[in-house]
């Protein structure tokens, strides 16, 4: 019996000082020996609790077993039966709240590094067998047949929900067209999450795979503006539509001074850099303000991405300002740790009440109050209340609001019969994604509000199946003599 390794096999990473100057991916991924060592920490439980923690039910035990047996390619195939995006999820899932939280060895030891192993096999497939990425080997549901192949399905948006739905539907034999508003597909994976956490080449590889599979990708097309959902269905012959348009509309606090120059939303700051390459100005034409003293408001994944990006483009001092504490913060622990290593200052129990401008309209200061935590609110977290008289002003020259997002209203406002809730989320059946409009399905952040990549991907997967069922029934109903549900 080998000695029990109490801690996770450390994931090799770039040195904190070194990485502050560039956008290179911080985590380097396991070597084969490290992956094997980590896989051997798994007890291969009879009833793997970890799998209950994964929103899509990745067969964690089985894939880890395959790694331990030296079969990484088989491992990745197993994962892809339920999760089409393992290279992405292995990197960005909040594992400590999901699969790894439930791992039975957690407590006495550190849980098995499920995310890092998932990433390892996905990268293995991509790196070691160039071209193999396009082969969607072993996928269930590749039941292409004549009558189905004729049906056209439109997928709106190109984030994880849409990428998954499009991939599954095309494998089932449908003619899929994916419509993206921006000039590059990928959704938040492209414009939001930075290169140092999720290399864009990985997102691009997923998109290339879809193209090879026959999915038509049409960028620069805003559904609801360029083409409406009704036009897609009534004039362009799409038999069903999946809406995965995300929750991209940024929130602001509504405090005085928020429209001073030098105040960004997280989406604007990240989009300028990730999508438009503003940090390469003037080689690229889009500019961005690079602050010396940057304050980021909020403490989710987005805030960590912003503050770490600000450091990489030259901030001398970068802080995260959050009204609750480290305990309530929603960011992934790994990213929080990486941010701290990179020199980010965390100001807990602090909230801005006013932004102070210079005479020419530039933000120069952020007036904050101290908070204290009182009784729990409806989210179960203790409610922060301001401490009277605790105001102080932080000197800043760039402020980024990372406060979360709302769904963009363009699709719902332009689609009669599509019901939304009071916040603008599309109402959809949690099991199928079916909306109030026949033939129209929705999933991901546009339904749930800002959530996670894997939840969006899971919703896309469920909707793909539901669309398949819907279209099969519709087709059977319209073919005389064919019994409904014959397959």
């Amino acid at each position: 019996m080998p000695m029990v390794q109490l801690k996770k096999t450390p994931l090799p990473a770039l040195d904190a000082i070194q990485r502050r100057d560039g956008f290179q991916e911080v985590n380097l991924g396991y070597t084969p020996a490290q992956a094997l060592a980590e896989a051997q920490r798994c007890l291969l439980c009879q009833e793997p609790a970890c799998e209950d923690g994964c929103p899509v039910g990745v067969p964690i035990r089985d894939f880890i077993k395959l790694i331990a047996e030296g079969k990484p390619l088989e491992a990745v195939r197993r994962i892809k039966q339920v999760n089409s995006l393992p290279a992405i999820c292995g990197r960005v899932c909040p594992q400590e709240h999901q699969c790894e939280l439930r791992c039975v060895i957690r407590g006495k030891q550190e849980p098995v590094a499920i995310g890092a192993l998932e990433r390892y096999v996905a990268d293995y497939e991509m790196n070691d067998r160039p071209g193999a990425a396009g082969v969607s080997s072993g996928h269930n549901g590749s039941t292409s047949n004549g009558h189905k192949a004729s049906a056209k399905v439109a997928v709106v948006g190109s984030g994880p929900a849409s990428l998954t739905a499009a991939g599954d539907l095309s494998r089932m034999g449908y003619q899929v067209t994916l419509f993206e508003a921006l000039h590059l597909p990928g959704g938040v994976l492209m414009y939001g999450i930075p290169e140092f956490r999720l290399p864009k080449s990985i997102v691009a590889a997923e998109i290339d795979k879809l193209r090879e599979q026959g999915v038509e990708i049409r960028c620069n097309t805003v559904i609801g503006r360029t083409i409406t959902i009704d036009q897609l269905m009534n004039e362009m012959g799409y038999a069903a539509v999946f809406i995965g348009s995300g929750a991209g509309s940024p929130k602001f606090m509504g405090i005085p001074g928020e429209n001073l120059t030098g105040v960004y939303s997280a989406n604007e700051f990240l989009t300028r850099i990730n999508l438009m390459k503003a940090h390469c100005f003037p080689d690229y034409d889009t500019p961005v303000k690079k602050g010396q003293r940057v304050a980021v408001v909020g403490a989710g994944d987005t805030a960590m991405d912003v503050v770490r990006t600000a450091i990489r483009v030259g901030a001398k001092e970068a802080s995260v300002v959050y009204r609750r504490t480290e305990k309530e913060m929603t960011a992934r622990v790994e990213d929080y740790r990486h941010a701290a290593e990179e020199g980010v200052i965390f100001r807990w129990l602090t909230t801005p009440v006013r932004l102070v401008g210079s005479g020419d309209g530039w933000v120069r200061g952020m007036e904050c109050v101290r908070m204290e935590l009182c009784e729990p609110d409806e989210s179960g977290r203790r409610r922060p209340m301001p401490v009277p008289g605790s105001e102080s002003v932080m000197e800043v020259d760039l402020v980024v609001m990372a406060l979360g997002t709302n769904p963009n209203p363009t699709v719902s406002q332009s689609t009669p019969g599509l019901a939304t809730d009071q916040y603008g989320h599309i109402k959809a059946d949690p099991l199928t994604g079916a909306t109030s409009k026949p033939g129209v399905f929705a999933g991901g952040d546009v339904v749930t509000g800002s959530a996670t990549v894997i939840l969006a991907a899971g919703a896309g997967k469920r909707s793909a199946l539901a669309i398949h069922r819907y279209l099969s029934e519709k087709l059977n109903a319209s073919v005389p003599g064919r019994a409904a549900g014959s397959h």
Binding site: A181, N220, S249, N259, Y264, T271, D285, P409
Partner: protein, 275 residues
Amino acid sequence: MATIVHKRDLTPITSLFEVDAPLIARNARPGQFVMVRADQRGERIPVTITDSSKERGVITLVIQEVGRTTRMVRSLEQGDDILDFVGPLGRPVELPGRGRVALVGGGFGAGAILSLAKELTVRGVHVSSIVGARNRDLIILDKEVGAHSKRLYLCTDDGSVGFHGFVTGQLAALVQEGDPFDEVFAIGPVAMMRAVAETTGRFGIKTQVSMDPIMVDGTGMCGACRLTVDGQLKFACVDGPFFDAHKVNFAEAIVRSKTYVDEERAAMTTAVARG
């Protein structure tokens, strides 16, 4: 990708483009805009749909050169492709169905009022168009706009043609002479629109202006284009671009539009040519 099917230089700094974009032309309504990106390293910039033809599947743009991107777009020729071309974006402007309307245009807006003039004329509204420029050589699309207006008033800063002075001077003169406008619409430089708002505010005439804040995506995702209108936060690309002129916080909009003046200057001094 969209192909330029026709190009015409209107002045030394302004060109008109007809772009092949049948899907956009089909759904375009007056007041909407497109986002344009000319090359792989280029910036996304908003440009008003000056005119559109469903039948021919084309969108007409008027581009006035003010910086690096507008210069790059203007250097494109008939037959060239525009790399990224997205639209129609923004809410269509709410136009009245009757009465008397004044359209005020300056800069590229002198052309951009054309789509409003056309639609209003179809609806039977009495249209007076007031367009301004520094001198007679910089007046654009006056024939086209005139063809869809009951009255056309040209204004030049130097008096080389038409009214000697600003568009607001002409507008005020018309109102004072007893021309009762029910509503005024203005498109042009923000300083002009603010002046129009001040002028019509004095006379209590309902006015809408097409705000032109800096945009990134143009789809409501970044908040760069935010404005304060009636004390409320608005995103010009999805809530606008037209807003009630008497409720817009112009001072804030003008400060925000100057965010990148240093970078804009730098961009003009670096070489434009690239592979």
